[in-house]
Amino acid sequence: MIEILLFAELEEIVGERKLTDPQLVGKTINEVREKLKQDYPNIKQIDRAMVAVNEEYAEDDQQLNEGDVVAFIPPVSGG
């Protein structure tokens, strides 16, 4: 199982903060991103998002393992 977290505008577009998908094990982050764009055609902003796997920033070509939590992180604006 892979858990996908979506925040801010991405969460609003999808209507969920958390998605789960067992079929994403072994895929790259880039593939997850493409799948989300297929499932939610108006989620274009995801191209600007950073990605974290298990709470650490990750590269787009990283492959996902069973149990990984993938978070799409739109441009941050804390402070």
Partner: protein, 154 residues
């Protein structure tokens, strides 16, 4: 004592300062971020902050570690508030103590700039006629690769 926190209640400035007190600190700099009413001629009614809480607390801690690497005698504490904030409410309190004052200023400044780069916290501005998620990074740079460069993360 938890020195890096994301909370939903009002931030107690004194509590954050207390966490960095030290017999060899001669200086404590605090940066307090507050909700400003007017931005570029537009009137904010209120804000909502959201965060990826566990990762945000980790990243605040990373910022503290980066500061201690550069200023080994520094002590750092950061609390960021999320949820609904009204005008003048405090969104973030950074406190840095160091033996000498110049370092406390430099480190505190570093902390707020880093927060705006790497900590997963988002602000939604609510105006009288609309609302929008703000992406501070985009004011300064765009992550064309979809993620910050290595130098921004480590």
């Amino acid at each position: 004592m938890q020195r890096y926190r994301i909370i939903e209640d009002p931030i107690d400035i004194g509590e954050v300062v207390t966490k960095v007190e030290d017999r060899n600190a001669g200086a404590i700099n605090t940066f307090i971020g507050t909700v400003r009413e007017m931005t570029k001629g537009k009137k904010t009614v209120f804000l909502k902050y959201d965060a990826y809480v566990p990762m945000a607390e980790k990243k605040l801690e990373q910022i503290g570690d980066e500061i201690v690497e550069q200023y080994p005698e520094a002590k750092v504490a950061i609390t960021h508030r999320i949820g609904r904030l009204d005008i003048q409410d405090i969104a973030v309190v950074i406190a840095v103590s160091t033996p000498h004052r110049a370092d406390s200023f430099a480190a505190s400044r570093y902390a707020i700039e880093r927060i705006k780069e790497i900590v997963p916290i988002w602000k939604k501005e609510h105006w009288e006629d609309g609302e929008e998620w703000i992406g501070d990074q985009l004011e300064k740079k765009s992550y064309s690769k979809g993620h910050p460069e290595e130098e921004d993360l480590t």
